[in-house]
């Protein structure tokens, strides 16, 4: 069985890779298999983990000692409303769960992004550049200055209600340089990621399938 399995996996892997030469039927079959299988997998996962594992078991617990949590039923009702989209006449009801999702996301994001990405990041940017109470090597001092100046300048670049002229424009220019270095690092890491993923597949083909490498 394991043997067949490896060949199936290799067949599918090579099918996707064949796209590099050009679009072909082999690739299209593999792609369709992918779409179908993944949709089915997600579907089942959500069913067993949420609808059954959470909603059903929450409202009708198997363990008699556990209190049924009827408040989950509101979620169930919202979920059913979501499905009403399929019935055009009362499809407008599906806006309620949507409104709930948007409101919940907005409310939670508002507070967590403000607290973590504004407050904490500002707090951390405020560090002594150098000073008596601070164990500082030249490396740290330069680093602190780069982070402080860089963050400052890059934020100035994102300032929209003021013309980028004079000193302000100069700072914005420094900001764009910092952003470019950031994007360069991002690019380097993206390349690293993609090559790793390819390595994973090559490892499968040469190691698990053919057994060339161990």
């Amino acid at each position: 069985m394991h043997h067949i399995a490896l060949w199936v996996a290799a067949f599918l892997t090579l099918g996707i890779i064949s796209f590099l030469y050009r679009d072909n039927a082999w690739y299209k079959i593999c792609e369709s298999v992918f779409v179908g299988i993944s949709a089915g997998y997600w579907f089942v996962s959500y069913f067993w983990d949420n609808l059954y594992g959470k909603l059903w078991l929450g409202v009708f617990p198997r363990d008699p000692a556990q209190q049924p949590d009827y408040i989950l039923l509101i979620g169930g009702a919202l979920g059913v409303m979501m499905l009403l989209r399929l019935i055009p006449k009362i499809g407008w009801l599906s806006r309620w769960p949507l409104a709930f999702i948007v409101g919940a996301t907005a409310g939670l994001n508002l507070i967590i992004y403000f607290a973590s990405n504004v407050m904490v990041q500002v707090e951390d940017t405020i560090r002594p550049l150098f000073g008596a109470n601070y164990s500082s090597s030249a490396y740290d001092i330069v680093g602190n200055i780069v982070v402080a100046v860089g963050t400052f300048a890059a934020l100035i670049y994102f300032f929209f209600s003021k013309e980028h002229k004079g000193a302000f424009g100069g700072a914005a220019k420094v900001g764009i340089f910092v952003l470019m270095v950031t994007f360069g690092a991002s690019f380097g890491y993206t390349v690293m990621s993609r090559i790793s993923l390819l390595l994973g597949r090559i490892d499968f083909l040469m190691g698990d399938w053919l057994g060339v490498i161990k």
Binding site: L20, Y21, Y41, W42, S45, Y46, D49, N50, G53, K54, L57, G58, P61, R62, D63, Q66, D69, A104, L108, I112, Y113, A115, S116, N117, V120, Q121, E123, D124, V147, T182, A185, S186, Y189, T190, V191, M192, S193, I195, S196, L197, L198, L199, G200, R201, I202, D203, M206, G207, W209, L210, G211, V212, I213
Partner: protein
């Protein structure tokens, strides 16, 4: 030769290749195909020479075709796997920071590992997951697994199966539910973390096998994050490390380290500097780092040579492209 003929030939070639590969595997042609050192060097020289040739052609105004580039990337990534070169992985400060944090976990502590990725990112994250959990198991640290991605718990199972088969760990006779537990997946993204902050059990009434939460000794008395001593997040996107930091760490005071795919690692550095994250591992090189630090070399370290070659080929191609640009394209654009 007409197109039809061409297609048949291609099909025959593929089938022949398959048969050859199958027979080859059966009679073990491919065993011990590792390159000796002289061959490794020769291969490198040949690749370098041919890239020099591409440079010359590009300078002459004939840039390489897309498929040529594809071919080179393929070669650069697959041939080094056959070479017997061992390398030393440079340890980054963030990786060291993470390992220092891991060293502070006491035996018997409870560690929450969140598997927030799917198979495509497994080459990068699976070695990290294995290295981290191996470290825990070897030191009698208890592991609680959850997943914010539906495929996460399954990836965890793969890692567990591999680790539990290792002699050093199987000798410990680890018991499911006592030494480790897999609570499975819950949908709801960051809301799951939010909810776990006040009550694990309501989010995971049962583990992924359906065992009720309270009958699992390991988590029975873990009510919320305050019962967790350390947490490790393996993340490939949303929901992932960012959400864990924003909610788990900042709201509920979780102590967290993370392993990320390289693509999203760069965005996490501000959190590392501010101490919201206690270290981070980025991509395959991060995996190699943790393997080196825990002194158990695995796939991450094994792939580093091929990874290096991949990067080199990429850089050389960009340089070639830019040479062509400064010699030709720029003039053309000006004109």
């Amino acid at each position: 030769m007409n197109g039809r003929m061409y297609k048949y030939l291609a099909a025959v070639a593929v089938v022949t290749a398959c048969v050859l590969l199958y027979v080859g595997k059966r009679v073990a042609w491919f065993e011990d195909m590792m390159f000796p050192t002289w061959l490794s060097i020769l291969v490198c020289v040949l690749i370098a020479a041919s890239m020099f040739w591409i440079l010359l052609r590009t300078i002459k105004g004939k840039p390489a075709e897309r498929r040529t580039v594809f071919l080179y990337v393929g070669i650069a990534v697959s041939l080094p796997l056959l070479m017997t070169i061992s390398v030393h992985v440079p340890i980054s400060t963030e990786g060291q920071l993470l390992f220092d944090g891991m060293k502070r976990i006491q035996p018997g502590s409870k560690v929450l590992v969140s598997f927030d990725y799917d198979p495509p990112s497994a080459p990068e994250l699976q070695p990290m997951a294995e290295a981290f959990m191996r470290y825990c198991f070897e030191r009698d640290i208890k592991v609680i697994i959850i997943g914010l991605w539906p495929q996460g718990p399954q990836q965890a199972n793969l890692a567990l199966a591999k680790l539990l088969a290792e002699p050093a760990i199987s000798a410990k006779n680890l018991v499911y539910g006592v030494d480790y537990v897999n609570l499975g997946f819950q949908s709801g993204n960051e809301f799951v973390i939010q909810r776990m902050g006040s009550d694990f059990k309501s989010m995971f009434p049962a583990d992924y096998r359906g065992t009720p939460y309270d009958s699992l000794p390991l988590v029975g008395n873990v009510r919320n994050f305050s019962g967790i001593d350390y947490s490790f997040n393996l993340s490939a996107g949303y929901p992932g490390t960012r959400e864990w930091v924003l909610i788990g760490v900042d709201r509920f005071g979780l102590v967290m380290g993370a392993g990320n795919t390289a693509v999203q690692t760069t965005g996490m550095y501000p959190y590392v500097r501010s101490g919201q994250l206690k270290g981070i591992l980025g991509g395959m090189s991060g995996a190699a780092e943790i393997e080196e630090l825990t002194e158990r070399l695995g796939k991450g370290a094994k792939f580093m040579v091929a990874q290096s070659f991949g990067h080199m080929v990429m850089i050389v191609f960009i340089v070639i492209g830019n040479v062509a640009y400064f010699l030709h394209e720029r003039k053309k654009k000006k004109a």
